[in-house]
Symmetry: C2
Subunit: 328 residues, 2 copies
């Protein structure tokens, strides 16, 4: 196996992002696709060397009838073959999907609920098989939407108990690895029908970008890593700042807010809006920032929610619906 | 004229980026192309309202024979027509181009030297005609190279005496503006032969990206603005930190460096490398950071240059060439 193999890159990612410190148990989320199969296999190769206990989980979404059950059966046989204990979750997506929610979103929710359960019960890290191409696609998707720093950080290599050890490997390398190691994998028929934009990026843009820069994924990987550090640092400063400015429940001292540098103030306002379930759009942040600076003001930011600055404090006020009816 | 016209967006950019505070004189760099012609015309419309004195400059690079002189003649006639004082610089690019330098680079150098001269003599801001599409292209170009936060900030709206009031306008809007206002403009025959990558981005990628998100340029514009704030804030923190850590010429206290958060330490190391004319690649920054953290070490970062940490200080050492010969 050459120096750039998936196994080595998985090891590099584990070290670079400090994925396994203080953790003796890793559960791989295995769908049966090339990515998760390669991840399971490479972590099996590293199990002894790194001294963790490997297990797997599979979430059967029951969305594709026999095909779903076939995937589950394949994952069961693979885990037996590799001698990895497996836990299978069978979930009812269609029966539990909420209004205004796509099947895909609900499936994702249930999947991550299963991961959380596994992590709680086994005290393990849960490894998902996102790769370098997924990361680049996510960055482009967010760039196309005109995201801020956070969106440009791509897929987080580590978040709580979740780890993504395949983030340094491209889809090509992963498929090659499966081939070299005689690993079969399933192809999800719904993959072809995922979101329009991501598909356009994957199929139309990516080949052209790779033509311009064949090592695009490495470059973007380095970039998202550095941006992630910048972003976390600024977020931490904002969390400290909002704690310092707090004068009561949801009420913040203007005096403290005034003295914050622009990028921190914007993040603090974003936290204040999120506290009241308001999406922090750049328009709302700018508006709120302006009345904070002017020392007084009130702006309607959402149906019955107002950003209010007066008597030296700033807050997001939520007017109860019936009260609202009276005054309108 | 509608609400989104070039004139209104120029005004919005001037206000948003605070381009004219404390400045009574603006010189537009006019090549004669659609962008600079539209910029000159729209600033002429705003001259009285904003109370600055408008002038223009044109740099004749003498690279395209009669075509160059034709451009100059057109700019002269346009400025006469709009009653804007004009200064023309005639520069010798081919006769002064350095080894390992492209004609294009040298032309750019001479152009910005002329802008600096104008700014010194008239005490004016120099307005260049970079537009929203140029900004998006620059971001994509840097993204493709795997840039850091700085590269994602795009074209700075304000840098020293330079201002870019067209940054909120797309190429399309600018050409429409020229049409509506009966403004003729020249087309630079070398535009078609500019850098391969930028052209690929402009001609092949951009149409596809705009298909996915028709308001791409606005989104990227908002993004680069916010990222610019983040970036400048982090750079300022780094400049303060390096000043605090300084123990002598090019020598910095490890004790101070140790205590810096990662994103600031990386920027400080980047500054230390630049001080000794070393390009701060991520590999060099990571290596230097590691020996700073370990408290001692020496790494070869470039031919005769070393990153050295010992006795509590860190520095970039440059070994004189003849000394190097002796020891090798």
């Amino acid at each position: 196996m050459d120096n750039n193999s998936v196994r080595d890159k998985v090891l590099a990612a584990i070290r670079q992002y400090d994925m396994l410190t203080g953790c003796k148990s890793v559960t791989v989320a295995v769908s049966g696709g090339a990515d998760s199969v390669a991840l399971l296999h490479s972590l099996k190769m590293l199990e002894k060397e790194l001294g963790f206990e490997l297990s797997a989980c599979h979430v059967n979404h029951n969305l594709r009838g026999e095909e779903s059950d076939g995937d589950e059966a394949y994952v069961r046989s693979l885990c037996r073959e590799l001698d990895v204990p497996l836990r299978v979750f069978s979930v009812d997506v269609t029966g539990s999907v909420a209004k205004h929610q796509s099947t895909e979103e609900r499936a994702r929710e249930l999947r991550y609920e299963a991961f959380a359960e596994i992590s709680r019960e086994l005290g393990s890290k849960v490894a998902t098989a996102h790769n370098a191409c997924d990361n680049t696609e996510t960055v482009l998707l967010n760039l196309l939407r005109g995201t801020g720093l956070k969106g440009l950080c791509g897929i987080p290599p580590v978040r709580d108990y979740l780890i993504r050890p395949l983030l340094l490997c491209t889809r090509e390398e992963i498929e090659e690895y499966c081939g070299e190691n005689g690993l079969r994998y399933v192809t999800d028929s719904t993959n072809a029908s995922t979101a329009y934009t991501r598909n356009k990026i994957r199929l139309e843009l990516m080949p052209r970008l790779l033509e311009i820069n064949p090592s695009l994924h490495e470059g973007v990987g380095r970039m998202t890593f550095a941006l992630g550090e910048d972003s976390r640092f600024l977020e931490e400063m904002a969390e400290n700042a909002i704690a310092e400015a707090k004068a009561g429940d949801g009420v913040y001292l203007c005096e403290k807010l005034h003295s914050l540098p622009e990028p921190i103030l914007h993040r603090v306002i974003s936290l204040m809006l999120r506290e009241k379930d308001v999406e922090p759009t750049s328009l709302r942040i700018t508006g709120f920032s302006e009345i904070i600076k002017s020392g007084t003001g009130k702006i309607n930011i959402e149906k019955n929610k107002f950003a209010v600055v007066r008597k030296g404090v700033a807050e997001v006020q939520v007017i109860p619906q019936n009260y609202r009816k009276k005054i309108t």
